[in-house]
Symmetry: C2
Subunit: 395 residues, 2 copies
């Protein structure tokens, strides 16, 4: 089967989550991703739990379909080998702090001399072109600085980090878009280029209407829980055994909702007649709806309201969404057979193309699993050379 990135080779110096998310997406699309790791140690995330037979499932979940080559870039010989590989590569990816690659003389300006067609993609907290280049790029730092935490949470509660590392995952996905665009640019012009993704930029770019609300009106968006600035009822409501969300986007849905809960008299209630009135009286409205929802199981509420076309959904806990029939039908949970850990289920790619299968995945590599293969097949190293490099701890 043809894949879109067949024949594209990525030298992947990335670690933990942000750039590994990008290179996993590239590998899913058919690129040969060679993950370059510190000999004996490897990616930091190999030490993140949960573990199975001593192997990190965290690592497995973002490194499928990749190869692993150990290479010590702090040794001159390691850097030489890396530069040799660059001659046979299309893309280099990294998410160290901005000066790290420069200190090793492996930044874009140096590598483009070796291979002018190389595409060099970086992710860091503030961007390589920035005032404060050196701060570490923890996800929580970018979510905080980027403004997303200030608008996530409840008005009477603290600012809230999103429950998954969306600064990492957004910046990784934006890097993927950048690399695919740069490959196309290279097809047209024959030229490589560098890509500079900032985690703070990435969060800033997804603040949605909060940006124009400030630039136009000076209004500083704040935390409004799960509700909506201009629609009501539109919120999370407590059910007997969990939570549901109900989203009433217009007056016609309000009528359907009142009818479905057998409260037709509310349709023309002066406090709730229009969306504008419902928004202004949303406190009473939410209290009233909660009084109704909390007496009923979530499943029953969803069945009752969705039957009448009212937008409603259960707030799924993780076990529920993982066992959801539609997630299973769409093969969003995929099993890989790891040589040490055995069968492990991870989230599959959400990018579904009709002519490209997402069904066969290779497990994440063991540390250095492909070192010999890469050095032999790409650079033509002999077994003796490889043995010597092992002795010198270069690989």
């Amino acid at each position: 089967m043809v894949k879109p990135l067949d024949g594209i080779r990525v030298l992947d110096l990335s670690h933990v989550l942000a750039m590994p998310t990008c290179t996993m997406q590239l590998a899913d699309l058919g690129a040969e991703v060679i993950k370059i790791e510190k000999p004996e140690i490897g990616d930091d995330s190999r030490y993140f739990g949960p573990f199975i037979n001593g192997e990190s499932a965290y690592f497995m979940s973002v490194n499928r379909n990749k190869k692993s080559l150990t290479l010590d870039l702090k040794q001159e010989r390691g850097r030489e080998i890396f530069k040799e590989l660059v001659k046979f590569a299309d893309v280099v990816t990294e998410n160290y702090r901005p000066n790290t690659m420069k200190k090793l003389s492996l930044d874009y300006d140096n590598l483009k001399k070796i291979n002018p067609k190389i595409i060099y993609a970086s992710i860091c907290c503030f961007g390589h072109y920035s005032i404060d280049q050196q701060s570490p790029g923890y996800d929580i730092i970018a979510q905080a600085i980027g403004g997303l935490m200030s608008i996530t949470g409840y008005p009477d509660g603290p600012p809230t980090r999103v429950g998954s590392s969306v600064a990492d995952i957004f910046s990784g996905t934006f890097a993927t878009v950048g690399i695919l665009a740069a490959l196309r640019y290279r097809d047209i012009t024959g030229e490589g280029q560098s890509i500079d993704i900032s985690m703070v930029d990435s969060i800033f770019a997804v603040l949605e209407n909060a940006v124009v609300r400030y630039t136009l009106t000076g209004e500083v968006a704040s935390r409004i829980g799960s509700s909506h600035t201009s629609l009501a009822p539109y919120n999370a409501f407590k059910a007997k055994d969990g939570w549901v969300v109900i989203g009433i986007g217009n007056d016609s849905l309000w009528k359907k909702f009142c009818t479905a809960i057998n409260k037709e008299e509310l349709i023309s209630h002066p406090l709730y007649l229009t969306n504008d009135k419902r928004s202004r009286n949303c406190k009473q409205l939410n209290e009233f709806i909660t009084a109704w929802t909390k007496e009923r199981p979530a499943k029953e509420i969803v069945e009752l309201l969705s039957k009448d076309g009212v937008p409603v959904a259960e707030v799924n806990t993780i076990d529920k969404i993982i066992n959801d029939p539609n997630i299973r039908l769409r093969n969003m949970l995929i099993e890989m057979n790891h040589p040490k850990a055995g069968k492990v289920k991870v989230a599959n790619s959400p990018i579904r193309l009709s002519k490209i299968s997402n069904d066969n995945i290779q497990p994440s590599p063991l540390l250095g699993e492909h070192t010999e293969e890469v050095l032999r097949e790409i650079l033509g190293f002999s077994p003796e050379e490889i043995e010597k490099l092992k002795m010198q701890k270069v690989i």
Copy 2:
């Protein structure tokens, strides 16, 4: 200047946020995006506030660099014109409910007969291939079903919708990756294909370690506020005038932190000696740190701790991040000159390629602004034909 998507024409049937995010990214990269809108009405989001001179800034913020063609697809003549345009297009995008395009006979199976090279990308709530195809795709529904709300928020509080529409924005960005991959596949094989992005899949794919924690250990990840499952202190803390986040990833940073706040005696305190102990005693730890932070302005805390290399950041409110010097330096807030609204500032693309400028943007189009241009230049329609179509309200 060459752009990666020069010469790529997108017929964009999308509305509101999810797919418009995708086509904005495509337009930023040089594609000709022709947004097709209902005559006289247009995209629903043209009616979302805030407004300036009657024009929606919400709409402006996700529709820059696009053209607008009005076309009534409910009329036979409108569908004919659309099909003519498909012959001259590379990509069709839409985010209606699954059956909408089929009812109009404008789904992939019909359009590929007209143009076998067409790439057809859809976003909907559950995916076109799904059990329950017809539910509406509100962002809050996908965040709820996908499990993200259940892990966002505080343990003693309700599940929490992320403060921006990340189900829309993730699914839009995944569609961009899919389209770029499909274009490359077409370059190799000459074949088009369809892309089926589900908003629920998109949220499921970004749940991060919560998925493997459940599949491996059965642990159901829940809400832990802004803290970390296995690191402490790593949280949001109240400052005198706002909030800060502090992220102590290891024992060496703990020493630096204690020294920076003049509490060296805590370094070897039996409750806090190792990360494991700090995690187990994080309640006392957080209380103690809050007692220290709440006496000081956020700015002072950030200066004091960052000087010593402790990962720290202010939780920026929207006004602060918009006026942040680094955001300004990186041109992340860009001004467009709208013909009716005047100068409006919106968030720029975070995808920064060294050879492609993000500095010149065209404002979002007025409804039907490019109708005549598109019909004349692509299909060769005469002024008389165009006049007739206007009379018939086809355009």
